[in-house]
Symmetry: C2
Subunit: 709 residues, 2 copies
Amino acid sequence: MNKDKAKVREILDAVKAAGRNSLTAPEGKLVCDAYGIAVPKEGVATNAADAQKLASSMGFPVVMKIVSPEILHKTEAGGVLVGVKNADDVAKGFDTIVANAKKYNAKAQILGVQVQQMLKGGQEVIIGAVTDGSFGKLVAFGLGGVLVEVLKDITFRLAPATREDAYSMLDGIQAADMLKGVRGSDPVDRDALAGLIVGVSELVSDFPEIAEMDLNPVFASKDSAIAADVRIVVDFAAKAPRYRPAEADVLVAMKRIMQPKSVAVIGASAEAGKIGNSVMKNLINGGYKGNIYPIHPKAEDILGYKAYKSVKDVPGEIDTAVFAIPAKLVAGALTECGEKKIAGAVLIPSGFAESGHPEMQSELVAIGRKYNIRLMGPNIYGFYYTPANLCATFCTAFDVKGSAALSSQSGGIGMAMIGFSRSAKMGVSAIVGVGNKCDIDEDDLLIFFEQDPNTKVIAQHCEDLKDGRAFAEVARRVSKKKPVIVLKGGRTAAGAKAASSHTGALAGNDKIYEDVFNQSGVIRANSLRDLLDFARGVPLLPTPKGENVVIITGAGGSGVLLSDACVANNLTLMPMPADLDAAFRKFIPPFGAAGNPVDITGGEPPQTYKNTVLLGLQDDRIHSLILGYWHTIVTPPMVFARIIVEARDEMRAKGIEKPIVASLAGDVEVEEASQYLYEHGIPAYAYSTEIPVAVLAAKYKWARGAGLM
Amino acid sequence: MNKDKAKVREILDAVKAAGRNSLTAPEGKLVCDAYGIAVPKEGVATNAADAQKLASSMGFPVVMKIVSPEILHKTEAGGVLVGVKNADDVAKGFDTIVANAKKYNAKAQILGVQVQQMLKGGQEVIIGAVTDGSFGKLVAFGLGGVLVEVLKDITFRLAPATREDAYSMLDGIQAADMLKGVRGSDPVDRDALAGLIVGVSELVSDFPEIAEMDLNPVFASKDSAIAADVRIVVDFAAKAPRYRPAEADVLVAMKRIMQPKSVAVIGASAEAGKIGNSVMKNLINGGYKGNIYPIHPKAEDILGYKAYKSVKDVPGEIDTAVFAIPAKLVAGALTECGEKKIAGAVLIPSGFAESGHPEMQSELVAIGRKYNIRLMGPNIYGFYYTPANLCATFCTAFDVKGSAALSSQSGGIGMAMIGFSRSAKMGVSAIVGVGNKCDIDEDDLLIFFEQDPNTKVIAQHCEDLKDGRAFAEVARRVSKKKPVIVLKGGRTAAGAKAASSHTGALAGNDKIYEDVFNQSGVIRANSLRDLLDFARGVPLLPTPKGENVVIITGAGGSGVLLSDACVANNLTLMPMPADLDAAFRKFIPPFGAAGNPVDITGGEPPQTYKNTVLLGLQDDRIHSLILGYWHTIVTPPMVFARIIVEARDEMRAKGIEKPIVASLAGDVEVEEASQYLYEHGIPAYAYSTEIPVAVLAAKYKWARGAGLM
């Protein structure tokens, strides 16, 4: 794209100089021209012959309008003609308009008649841009018209957007089929529309002072997309740049904090019930092998560890300092930590911004930046990093090691993560509280977990993103390597701010999160249980090699519900090829139903489950299996569980690995069987047909987003 | 409404006599006229003066069309004028049209010129009717236009529809706001639209041979709603009337079957592992106190009970016969049961329609009707009715008595119901397998459970409804007394049949189920877990007296997620009145947040939970409470659970009862606390903010549908 930045700069400078906060229509058109954003052709004619020439060059019909500084209400003055169809009418129209204008106001200075290409037909759409407090510049796309406004059918992407982003926006609205040509209408020119989207997104990115922008309507036809009206709102107020340390520095600090050689406990206590005592006990009982330095103003020794009055008295290097002292003492101790060149402070204490003391929190941030010490919290439970047996928290020690790295903005949700993980035996590499997020936030954690060999999946609970753009940029990269799952609280909060553009008014805050998460490859969990179930199940599954899912079920009823869940979760039930159908039928009773689901019927012995699962794993056309088990005396739950693991292992030995999930319907023994399957690498769920499919779908969503299939 | 049925009958008879399957446009208009369905005014003029008179009487603009049997392509013949604006133009138009027609075909017989009221502006909508295989006649409503078709935004009700149904349809589409007047447009005439809907619904109900009908488009303006085009498709093929026993007879039979004084087990066996042995053991070990008659061709005695060769040899009356014999023997034994005047046969055996033998199933149905014996199944696990300690099934005995009556079409789903109920200690009054539903189906069960004092909630899994209309009629009545919850499998199946009308093509099968369930007061569960959780939780909750929900939470993060869930589930978070806000603030720390959610903060003692919950229960403006608990050492889980039950009991003693649900975030001890709360009448869930809100919302949905609030 040819971009005439100088031209835009010149126009914006003029607007700024004039003290205006929006561009005039002609200014808007010039800006569009500078960025190759198609607007209607137009020109001003001073005589009828010129008007004819202009109109013929742009094609009929045209719109004609009087140009006179004295005439503001052009229509009232008889100074507008719409749909002028040929050169003769243009000549007549010129004379009519000028005559009308003179009649309307004899003193008016007539500068000429504007001739403009008239747009009609095709599909009306809206393309716009907004500035979000967290994500910065976003480009928007939706259908035009009142109905679409009522349905709030609009989609967003971070600006600048790629052409691929732009095409995904065209497909990303509910009414996307309208663009493909319905009831005999032509499909729209997708390339032209994508070009406008990219152009707008680059324009607002190149010129941050453009706060909001609307192309509304854009007329999209089979061979063009032209913005009939342009509205640009500007904001020249200087913005403080966001504090964003270099990623390399983030990683160095995060590694020291999460995998410390030495930990100081500021406010360590020998007294049971105190937070400083719980932290000490958790460090010790959790099995942490590094140095532990209790810091206490008076004690000589705490729980067998030599105590120091200050971190500055500790002889060796300290990586992480866990704070368990009252809020008012934190700043002083933090300064000492800074002087000691400690990498990170884990600020358990509350009493800061969350309790009406933002100034105390700002003080910590200033100290942190001054000494280059990263701050976790304040107002948190601390964190666990199980590969180092590190329980830097006042909660109970956590012992189920595994590959899920969890974090939460809320302490309560963090406790639920701990409880669920323990109860469901979910292996965890880390659980981190980020609390008030005065410094360390979700993207710092992503940067650490990205390279952490002990972490296979990252699951985060958040209520906001302090810097959504930083998060999105990091998440886009990390999610290509490891699934990133986010539960975003506050999704239904009224997030709309006062906005002066149409696009701005449609920008519900949650829709932006939804779209940016998608753009960044983040899997969004819709509920706390989904977050936990995805974190637990997704890392067990191998990456699918294609979209073909097959259901093998003993219970026809489960098969139906599993199919429903596949459709609801955007999974593809493979149409069963005839030869494969015949192959499945060999294993199942004559009244069983092949096709997909493969219904092996309820009374079958274990070998039928095994034969069909082996076939499903062996056939290259099938990429994933969903199993529906029905508890019978012929194939009891644990027999089913063992034989499925056997089948999986036999195929794995031959180098065949496919995702398998299972739904178990039956009496309480299916709970033990589900747990057995989970512990052997197969996500399995009792009494649910939805959770196994949602977990598989989360894996698919990730694999698609990461470009792995 | 004045209905001229004779006129409609006359027209339909003529169509039938002509062997046609659709009505002409004039016939369609006459039918509409007969039912007060507004269509454009029209008339035929034979001279220009008449045309002027006609046009003036209906108002301008008008459409004029040549009327000639020889001229089919009126436009081609120059025989159509649109938008004729005044009497002069009408006169001129008459002459022009006639002249054009003569020029087009000199031999054409000119009958005159049709003058028709021209409709435009307002909102285009579509009103139609279809005939569904299960539900019969349905009336449909949606916005007109391509976009709405793309979005499939249409809603259905059983016909005939009441005016109230009709208004609910206007509000029941996604784009309902379009009817209310957006961006300065007028709201439409809701009364006129409702009148059209009711008229169409009565017409198709009164004349079952009308198979499909479209009013498309209907122009709805601020003071009228007129159908511009009418399409009526008829089907005169005789339909076999549905078999539907009288409800009184259903109830007499169902009572004998579900609460039998005597049970025969046909195919009873002493041999462990046989189904007939399991059934005997379950009857005996389940504690059934009535007579048990094993039926066996040879045995004298089975498990201590005297055996008979046939039910006809049993001396006393038998209410229920449980079949545990091969499929091929069932018909013979069923005939004997009929002769013995047994009320019901529980047909456990499979090998009928589900295995490719529909003719064997039809034989059973014929025997059942002949002898007036009701059939449960075939192809089922049997049923439980716990108030009678009756386990008429081959599964294990079920022992957790309670008030939920469950049923399933699928055996696997039935087993999941048993497992979940046992595991979650859900009290159950009955679990019934309906399997192939050759006779007894969901509405027979509704009729029984409606009057069963042991049942407070009815939860059914189904894949289809053999007679959706019967179900809907019964459910509409029963749901006013007890919540009816349905999980409908196959929701995403391609249910659209070939349809010759526009409405028919839009009638996705699942949308019909969705709308009819709503119309009948049925709570639809979206997943198996929802069905089970609703059945478990809903009957515990007292009926709310109003919409005002307040969240009281120790964890801010839970409060946010609980709020999200309220919005997603259509619950109203009460705006907190200032005086009540002040009252809550007295109990919570200064940095806690009142408002709604009431955030008491995490470090609070049990008394803070209790004080705020007591206040929430006492204040009349609050109708329901959602609690968010955060596990801390200050208020451990079981302490929280006990104090909440105490608070509830104190208020109950004063006659105050409100729904309370709870979400518990914490370590594994919250599971025990949740179970304690559930067992004390408060639905409570560990690690979930969504399930408690969904359960409360199900109660609300029921209460609203039943007109109780």
